[in-house]
Symmetry: C2
Subunit: 346 residues, 2 copies
């Protein structure tokens, strides 16, 4: 089969790899039909994160079940499924608690036969990991493209909203205009936020944020952005969704949160100077987040997608085939695309 492989910073190649096969009775083999390139893939692409040379990559798979191990009960060959960015057993304390990303039996995608940017995939813990798309919608291309972001960014934006305790009637400030920030706007709107203030640096993305539900946008940076949001919120917002993980965005989050408010953060913190901890402390705000437990949210959000009340597909501003995945990385790296959809023709 063909699969995207990491060959070094800035170097993704499509290579021939052995087809994966069932290794454990809980495995399923997926023929990948749709996948995506993620903002978090850029960390290793830019050499800012370690990655073993030659490792198959990608972690947002959707496809058709081809084969299942003897113990798999929830899916069967022919089913359309998608999977979160990490696998989970579905049975442990943390899966029961809705915290599938802390499942001790789970792991992230990647490695031989387990990169989602490839033709086939071995999915371990299939019952606890895979989400089955109801047959009625299983071949509707528009629906599938709207569901694909549920593998990662849509559920991550939702996690930011949940961690920031966004509820009906609230004012939410979303920091970051990447795919996760845009999904956080959608999530806040879905939860009933009355005002959604999107903070970002790109006019085109902020325009999209408005289309997706932002009531106001702030395009400035640093202290200026903090002052603008403080003014718009009469002294800070009770619900702040930090969707980047950079030092500057954490500083903005701590600077705009209202005393006693809630910051939900979902970008892996890349921080050298932890100055944001001082205003965070003084504000008595809660700071809650982490890797989104996608599997816990996927069915609830899928319901809305199938009902037509949630559609994150506008975040895909570029579509490529599997052979063009390297161009997809380039477009993401150069910010020519918000997020790249990969359609795997087979």
């Amino acid at each position: 089969m063909k699969a995207a492989v990491y060959r070094g910073p800035g170097d993704i190649r499509i290579e021939d790899r052995p087809d994966p096969s069932v290794e454990e009775p809980t495995d399923a083999i997926i023929r990948v039909t749709h996948t995506a390139v993620c903002g978090s893939d850029l960390w290793f692409y830019r050499g800012e994160e370690e990655k073993e040379e030659g490792e198959p990559v990608g972690h947002e798979p959707m496809g058709i079940v081809e084969e299942v191990g003897d113990d798999v009960r929830s899916v069967e060959p022919g089913d359309r499924v998608f999977a979160p960015f990490s696998t989970s057993c579905g049975e442990c304390e943390f899966c029961r608690k809705g915290l599938h990303t802390s499942c001790p039996n789970g792991s992230f995608w990647g490695g031989e036969g387990r990169g989602a940017q490839g033709e086939k995939l071995r999915a371990p813990q299939a019952d606890g990991t895979l989400v089955r798309v109801p047959d009625r919608y299983a071949d509707d291309e528009d629906t599938l493209e709207a569901l694909l972001p549920l593998t990662d960014v849509m559920c991550t934006g939702h996690h930011a909203a949940v961690c920031a305790d966004v509820q009906a009637g609230d004012t939410a400030v979303v920091i970051g205009d990447g795919a996760v920030g845009l999904c956080a706007v959608l999530a806040s709107k879905r939860l009933g936020a009355e005002r959604i203030i999107a903070v970002g640096h790109h006019e085109d993305r902020l325009e999209l944020a408005e289309e997706l539900g932002a009531t106001e946008t702030v395009a400035s940076r640093g202290e200026e952005a903090i002052e603008e949001v403080q003014e718009l919120t009469y002294g800070g917002a009770n619900h702040v969704l930090e969707c980047v993980g950079a030092e500057s965005s954490l500083e903005t989050a701590a600077g705009v949160v209202r005393p006693g408010g809630n910051i939900g953060y979902v970008g892996v913190p890349h921080v050298e100077d932890p100055s944001f901890l001082q205003p965070l402390f003084l504000s008595n705000a809660s700071f809650t987040g982490g890797p989104a437990p996608v599997r816990a949210y996927a069915e609830e959000l899928m319901e809305d997608v199938l009902q037509g009340t949630l559609d994150p597909s506008p975040i895909f501003t570029k579509i490529v085939d599997l052979d063009s995945v390297p161009e997809g990385y380039e477009a993401m790296d150069e910010r020519d695309a918000i997020k790249v959809l990969v359609k795997v023709d087979q």
Copy 2:
């Protein structure tokens, strides 16, 4: 009047200062009878925090009301009162919300006529700031010594427990064996925690922690402490009370919290290397804290002290008079005393 004054790192002196007088109709003048030296006073005492030379110090006052301004309604001359480490109006959004430390009309003690380690004190916003001790207990020395920690450390320990969401039946891990950590043990016990694991470095303080309610203690440091707590809690605690604010204690907190758990932190973070943010993020734990809204908790905790079910006075391991306040700082600095009680004879 006599008052303790900061003259530089390691240099606290008792000097003659003008008596304070009513300046605003909302002021009260307090004749201080009891006060204390706080672990947070050591930051400027050790030169690790800026403080203006010649500034009167102290922020944990208890005393008798001598005079009140025309608008003061809740206290009158002769009343025994104590005050939180910061003043508050009692009427704004944040005071109503129980977040008195974010009151825009409030301020911290210190400055001319406003240092609590002195004979007299001008208390602004008397109605919103002062807590009146019921007459029946107003002259009972044991009760007063048990109430004095409610000006700061007892309410701060309670805040850690509230932020860590400690409830009846829970397992709580308290990091830090200083006055705040010991009060956090008391607070966890009061809230019904079933197991309380105290983590510290001083055998005598950990023994006191056990007397106050800790069911287990851990005396090791760093990775070893994390491993011990992980083992005791079968994989991490859902409720972690970080009562120091140092880099190492934050690392311990992030290392022992159970995925999806809650860290309450009440020590001002003094962090250069923010490595603890990585395990914090991966754990999806909430991280909540800040300066304790003492005024919001004081009456509830006073009730328990008056009922005899809460007694934080064992944290006072040294008693001095006002003239000996400099020795009190020395004892705290050298860790000869956990906390110093100052009895002001006048």
